[in-house]
């Protein structure tokens, strides 16, 4: 089943003003220290308050992150814990978080024997972020062009640091988890690409590891808040690979990664972003990706998410000028009792934007679930926009669930937009075609399921990543190959 549906402007509940400000305007008078006497706290949820206090106490505020922390604590304290009655969390069960005692991750001791350098450092430029901390001894950023910076904000050249600091937290559409990250991030890892610099010979590989966890059944849940900012100035170009996994021995532990990535792309700049999530099947993975695109810039995302008991990706892309190109390809896989959720929002406010979104989910377990809410807003000045969105889901078991809500909100009148949604089991006619050539239905199913996901995997720009993700997905779909 597929269809084309356009949301007419008349039914559009949200008509953003064209001068939607990106500058963060929160008051700084609020004390960073959380206090129960604080007027704001009265309306707050005690669970959130407790969490805020725990985060506050967990790490000393680095001077450079003070502003972020203040504004985050302000918004955190005025935001209740989301319930299933809130539209963005209607189908997403957060009880794994709510029912736990949330403990902020400690600063990891890198000498710990159990932390080994991730096997995948085939890229000369790699960064390791353990429990939210940039780990210098496990990173190699020597082979990058002059002027490019990859590392902690605290070691950044002051003039560049000023420029970067302006851009931190400049996003007013975040939710509670965005604020939790802003408050709990112990560090900010910065990728800075100066004007006209094209980092194309090799990608920057960000390996996020969770080293602290609790055993299954424990009430404690350790949260880490890694935060990365990517700034590409005018005409610059960079490839980013984000990979979330766990350190060896932590595969079956409970933990919560609450990551945030901000990407700012200057005029004519380009970012190719690969994102792979294969965390422990008992973990919670909540991720924010906030992208701002200046005129004529390009942002390409390829995502494969298969890990976590709860996986949630909030993807917000805002167009700041005309002629932008945005391509999003995502594959979510639920092979166990798990939820994979993508909430994406693309806001087009300027003419001649081009966007393509392909979202695919495979739910291969009766208690598995996939959620997709994909919103594309084509506002009044976004004339001659060409926006396409397609979501396809494969449900392979009885009671496997998918909730998809592709939606386009179009105000401009001279645009080309399409969207479609299809939910199905495998095609009988395709299965028969295999069988008619002597291939048994079991093998045929496996090949067809894999081919369904392959469309997204093929979009990773590096063959080593494609091969590795392919074998990971293969083993998830078929744990015991013949």
């Amino acid at each position: 089943m597929s269809g084309i549906a356009l949301t007419p402007a008349a039914y559009n509940p949200v008509i953003p003003s064209s001068s939607c400000s990106l500058k963060y305007q929160k008051s700084f008078r609020v004390k960073t220290r959380v206090s129960l006497n604080n007027a704001i706290s009265i309306s707050s949820d005690p669970f959130v308050l407790e969490l805020a206090e725990a985060l506050e106490d967990s790490v000393a505020t680095p001077k450079t992150l003070q502003k972020l922390r203040q504004s985050s604590s302000h918004s955190l304290l005025s935001t209740p814990w989301p319930s299933r009655k809130d539209e963005p969390f209607r189908f997403t069960d957060l009880s794994i978080l709510r029912s736990s005692q949330i403990l902020p991750a400690k600063t990891p001791t890198i000498t710990d024997a159990h932390i080994t350098v991730p096997p995948d450092s085939q890229f000369p430029c790699h960064v390791t972020i353990i429990d939210g901390h940039f780990v210098n001894s496990m990173s190699n950023v020597t082979e990058i062009p002059d002027g490019v910076y990859v590392g902690s904000l605290s070691n950044l050249d002051p003039t560049v640091a000023d420029r970067v600091s302006e851009l931190v937290s400049g996003f007013d559409g975040g939710d509670l988890f965005w604020s939790i990250n802003g408050m709990g991030a112990p560090d900010l890892t910065v990728v800075y690409v100066p004007e006209g610099c094209r980092v194309v010979q090799s990608p920057i590989h960000l390996s996020y590891l969770s080293s602290q966890g609790s055993k299954e059944g424990s009430n404690d849940l350790i949260v880490s808040n890694p935060r990365v900012l990517v700034v590409v100035e005018k005409g610059g170009e960079v490839d980013i690979i984000e990979e979330f996994s766990n350190v060896e021995g932590n595969e079956n532990e409970c933990y919560w990664s609450n990551a945030a990535l901000e990407v700012v792309i200057g005029e004519g700049g380009k970012v190719r972003h690969s994102y792979i999530q294969t965390q422990s099947s008992l973990s919670a993975h909540i991720k924010w990706t906030s992208v701002r695109q200046e005129s004529s810039s390009t942002y390409e995302l390829t995502e494969v998410s298969a890990g976590g008991k709860l996986g949630r990706h909030n993807l917000h892309i805002k167009q700041l000028g005309p002629d932008t190109v945005t391509e999003l390809s995502t594959l979510h896989l639920s092979v166990g009792n798990q939820t994979q959720d993508l909430h994406s929002s693309l806001v087009l406010d300027h003419p001649r934007g081009y966007s393509r979104q392909l979202h695919k989910c495979i739910v291969a377990h009766s208690q598995g679930q996939a959620v997709f809410d994909g919103n594309v807003k084509v506002n009044r000045y976004a004339q001659q926009t060409d926006a396409g969105q397609l979501t396809r889901s494969l449900l392979l078991e009885p009671r496997a669930t998918v909730n998809v809500k592709p939606n386009l909100q179009i105000i401009a009148d001279d645009v080309k937009c399409s969207h479609g949604a299809a939910i199905s089991d495998l095609e009988q006619s395709q299965l028969l075609y295999f069988q008619a050539r002597g291939i048994d239905s079991e093998t045929a199913r496996r090949v067809l399921i894999f081919a369904f996901g392959g469309e997204v995997i093929d979009k990773f720009p590096y063959s080593s990543i494609r091969d590795r993700v392919r074998s990971q997905i293969k083993s998830l779909l078929d744990p015991s190959p013949k």
Binding site: Y433, F434, R437, D440, S441
Partner: protein
Amino acid sequence: MASSSSLSLSLPFQFRFRRNNTHTLRNFTRVTASTTDIPLLQVNDLRAKIVESNVEILRGVNLTVNRGEVHAIMGKNGSGKSTFAKVLVGHPDYEVTGGSVVFKGENLLEMEPEERALEGLFMSFQSPVAIPGVSNDQFLVMAYNARRKKLGLPELGPLECFSYLMEKLQLVNMKPDFLNRNVNEGFSGGERKRNEILQLAVLGADLAILDEIDSGLDVDALRDVASAVSRILTPENSLLMITHYRRILDLLKPTHVHVMDNGKIARTGDITMVEAIEADGYETVSALT
């Protein structure tokens, strides 16, 4: 003469035992299995309906194909030709409601579609489905290895298969990049038909059923396809073509021509019958039983 003798050897006998025909047939096949004269395919009073709508399409088809024979089935649209082919390969849209099919001495109707294929029954699809994400060479290697496994031969890696595939590719006059493309995805009508013949060439078959392999082909493509098929044919294997057109019959020279009408084979003759059909139409020819 040959045609009438090969068509339904012992119908009255089979009819009488239809209620418990599977048992009877098995005994029958065991007895005859040792003889070399056993028909390759023997279809007796085959009846089938569409699962979804319960509409009966095949109303008692009888057909015998011996090794080395080339048969053609003609007939007007909706007479059941394609349904017959699909029922033989085990298409799940159809349910057999009566009759029997014995292929190489085995009860074909009890086999899964893949078992039928491995047993040596091949059908070219009238409109082959596209399979995005699966490349042609990957598909061919899988199918070829399934076949090799059945024959007790070791499976081959993609590289080892390569020269074998290249040789077959030349047979259907296709360029090597044909192998890198996804199965039938974005193929023209002609490419799809050639691809079916390529699969036949790679896999081989005791009985190849070509369901309208000639429709939608231009003159050159038709000649390519026909010459590939005739090179695949040996005195040991057989061909069953379903077609509306005379041209492919002139190229492949069937030994038997059948006219299907209303779910049955209404008439059987040789190539000369085609002229009568072209001149007078199916109605007249079918009525002459």
